[in-house]
Symmetry: C2
Subunit: 556 residues, 2 copies
């Protein structure tokens, strides 16, 4: 792997804020402005070490292991002398994979016998971990600027996690990830999906997409690879990703039985969970709420089952005439996850795949089972996310949120869009950003991006950028609408720059400074001026407005 | 002008539905499907004669004059022997413009003395015009498929226009335009803005953008040109555009006084109105609600006045120490407009240009004056639109709609977005589509598109496409959310095609078949198959879902 992945933002510098309870340094980005009044604005930063020139980056070695010391200090986990999954041990000695293998071996860590080591457990014990203080500072920095320092305290973070209303995905085997929090009382987060399929994409391209996602603002990353080298691809991604990584473990389990769904078994799935827990996956999507009894409810749908994991387990149930083993074995799954603090993201295998199927009996029957499973996970102190749709017209969005809160006891909702119409393939980052902004405003904690290639093909790097920026827009719009303190500071700073014709400040404050500059230059041949090509020099409203407001003093 | 502008949609044919009350043929598009059950779907069509291969197109001659016979038959207008504006008569003999002049001269038509000829007047007399029947059929065709034939009757159209809740922009001098209706009880419409500035763009490019806008679904078109050859550019556009055309007449008036705002006068503006009425502009944006008393309210704004027309008249008031003459002369303006059935679009000169300024006193003070002006226009039977913002965070959108309905007595609302955040220049088609979908759901009748170049430069052809499609998404999403009968038929047909792997049907039913096909091909090297590159052949949820639902019958 030769690529030197680096992230640069114009006029920006990496800064670190020191913790008070713990010796931690919380990473942020300061955008320096030409504006002489506020001089700079500090913004939330997902780019990790890639944007810190003082940290050397080598994809072959992986990122610095930020949380390792915190985890060691708790002294409730132990480093194992070998991997615990059969697959991983066999894979280690499989010379066929040598060419794609990540060379540095990090032996896995696991809870000591009898210890519970999840953030939820700590929170319920009244313990404020470094992870909790980290996210409190991270979420809170805009409030400091406003002088509202009490909104998001480490204690508030702790209580939200204790209640299950928020999670910090933090597998002890992914210490490279910077802590982040997902919950409706915090900034809305966005997830991006990457991953190869049997048809395309190299490991290098996938890492490039991951870094690209972090650059544009992705808060978490799901590796949905289904093709070759699935274990090694994931290892490279986890070691080089500064945000939590999620997967759908059944994809790999299915690869292990050569795609024969009938051959899937609890034993193979269990081994896959352990394999991935020990690699450092931070959350697993598990479609444990889709039951045999739900299948007849799907019959009258236009688009049947559109969730990959959902369709796999539905087929398994049909082929074997047995109940979903993710459901029947859910306690056992929790027993595994809690040893590594892997969160469970309860999948919505029956999410609607078309406007026609939105809010139907199948969808809501599954949602109510997800509530039942939430209680079980919480009993084990396993952190929980609830996945949501899908395709939903605007007037049916609110019912999704209301039912989710009611059925799932306030566990964070994590939705895919929803897309508010079916008729725009090629533009589904837009159809879904409309729904995502709306549902996030109503309380959804994390929105999963959709790229322009949705329904048509795998996203490339530029699609990832377009998807992430569309979702940053939706998330930020929701933060504004929810009245999140400080969210509007960036809007105000950018709009002031716009009104003052500080073009560079306007671009540097924007979600995609490169794109803004590129579009501006297309019309200006490189000259910066006190007007834009939209209006030309004589018809600029803001220029005229300034004249008027100045002249105003004299004449009126 | 050598370009042969043509519009082709894949697997589509132009069809015409015969009127019952009048001898009219209403243009629609039939999309032929591989699906053997429904065979085809008829959709609303804005492409005019460009998509009918039986009609010859020559930009130098202009489009067929569809409505001319209808207008003549009413016998309440007369064809003048010369133009009525001083400017137009002088311009006719100005040899400097010969190179850019539209060669065919269509002498203008005007109401006979003492006659009122607006659609609102006819409606109030209980007359159902061919225009009203045309839009009833056009809006209604999906309902015919559903067997709901009584929803949008010609009589309902008449009553909505009589009440002022809807308008049919239909200048008697733009008979090339196909009738369309703007009102909250009809399909949500979208407007596109084109036009050159002093810095760029030829007449040919502007016509190309107009045709392009109609291709992708633009319902109306505003020519916001401010540069050279403004009269001739507009003439070429009107003669070649099958949808209503709007302008902001003060732009040209200002060109006539060489950009010196202080020199603007009622006489120059009046002559410009007449000039444009006789060219065939269907609606004028007039910033008549911005008063001297409002200017102090703008002081504390972040972005002052961002409306071009608003900033011009604000400067005029400040420089001259006089009240807005659009306001003081509003009755005279209506007297002119009603002779041609030009609608007035009451401009929101004080629309917020940033999240900070949304819903402030300045904005709402102007809105309440717009209500007062609405009453005056209606007294003259002049059709009215009310323009709205702008930049508004999601939680403040509803107040805009509620106040508009209350203050303006149900006159159709026509908003620019609104953009739900300021921080994404380069992506403002998305920030604004989120707000536009939301406000259209709440009742806004027409949404004005924003392109990715907003705030940065003038849109090119590709920007127009991206802006129009984003707004078609927003408008359609609102139609679904409002429960417009028939809106969901296209979603259902497309989703069925998707589930059946009828890729061509899926693309052909989509808002942008070319883009969908392009993205699909990028991942498939030209092969069509029963899976897509997102999941690859083994992990296709819909394929698995089919297997399951079939297998289901046997096993369960």
């Amino acid at each position: 792997m030769e690529k030197n992945f680096r992230i640069h933002y114009p006029a920006s510098q990496k800064i670190y804020v020191q913790g008070k309870l713990h010796d931690i340094q919380v990473a942020m980005r300061r955008i320096n402005l030409l504006d002489t009044s506020i001089k700079s604005l500090v913004v939330y930063d997902t780019s990790g070490p890639y944007s810190d020139d003082n940290i050397s980056i080598d994809a072959n070695k992986g990122l610095p292991r930020l949380r390792e010391a915190w985890i060691e200090r708790r002294d409730d986990t132990e480093k194992l002398s070998s991997f615990s999954s059969e697959y991983c041990n066999a894979h280690q000695s499989d010379s066929e994979s040598d060419t794609v293998r990540f060379k540095v071996i990090n032996l896995p860590r696991r809870a000591k016998t009898g210890k519970n080591i999840t953030q939820m457990y700590y929170a319920r014990q009244g313990i404020i971990t470094p992870e909790m203080e980290y996210v409190a500072i991270r979420e809170n920095q805009q409030n400091d600027i406003l002088g509202i320092s009490t909104y998001i305290t480490p204690e508030f973070v702790r209580s939200e996690i204790a209640e299950g209303r928020a999670i910090i995905p933090s597998n002890i085997n992914h210490p490279e990830a910077e802590p982040m929090i997902i919950g409706s009382n915090f900034l809305v987060k966005i997830n991006t999906n990457i991953g190869n399929s049997a048809l395309s994409s190299s490991i290098g391209e996938e890492i490039e997409k991951s870094v690209w996602s972090c650059k544009w603002g992705g808060d978490t990353l799901m590796d949905l690879s289904t093709g070759k080298n699935i274990h090694d691809t994931r290892e490279w991604i986890i070691r080089n990703t500064p945000v939590p990584v999620g997967t759908v473990p059944v994809y790999q389990a299915l690869e292990k039985v050569n795609g024969k769904i009938a051959d899937l078994s609890w034993e193979i799935y269990r081994d896959t969970l352990i394999e991935q827990c020990e690699q450092g996956v931070d959350y697993f999507t598990i479609h444990a709420g889709l039951l045999q009894a739900h299948l007849p409810l799907v019959r009258n749908r236009v688009t049947g089952i559109v969730s990959r994991g959902g369709s796999i387990i539905a087929n398994w149930m049909t082929l074997n005439g047995q109940e979903n083993f993710f459901y029947t074995r859910f306690e056992s799954i929790c027993e595994i996850l809690k040893q590594y603090d892997v969160a469970v993201s309860l999948g919505d295998g029956l999410r609607p795949g078309s406007i026609h199927d939105a809010n139907d009996d199948a969808q809501f029957a599954e949602l109510s089972v997800l509530g039942e499973l939430t209680k079980i996970a919480w009993k084990h102190n396993v952190q929980v996310l609830i996945e949501g749709p899908g395709h939903v017209p605007m007037h049916k969005i609110k019912e999704n949120m209301d039912r989710q809160i009611h059925n799932c006891y306030g566990a964070p909702f994590y939705t895919l869009g929803p897309l508010v119409t079916d008729i725009a393939p090629g533009y589904d980052h837009i159809t879904s950003a409309i729904g995502a902004a709306h549902i996030a405003w109503l309380g959804t904690a994390m929105i999963c991006y959709v790229t322009p290639k949705e329904h048509l093909g795998l996203p490339d790097k530029e699609d990832v950028r377009n998807g992430v920026v569309a979702y940053k827009i939706a998330a930020h719009a929701a933060d504004l609408a929810k009245g999140h303190p400080g969210a509007q500071l960036r809007d105000n700073a950018l709009s002031r720059a716009r009104f003052d014709f500080r073009w560079r400040d306007q671009f540097n404050l924007s979600l995609d400074p490169e794109k803004a500059l590129e579009y501006y230059k297309a019309g200006h041949l490189g000259n910066e001026s006190d007007h834009c090509t939209m209006c030309g020099p004589h018809f600029c409203a803001m220029k005229l407005s300034k004249q008027c407001l100045d002249g105003d003093n004299k004449v009126m």
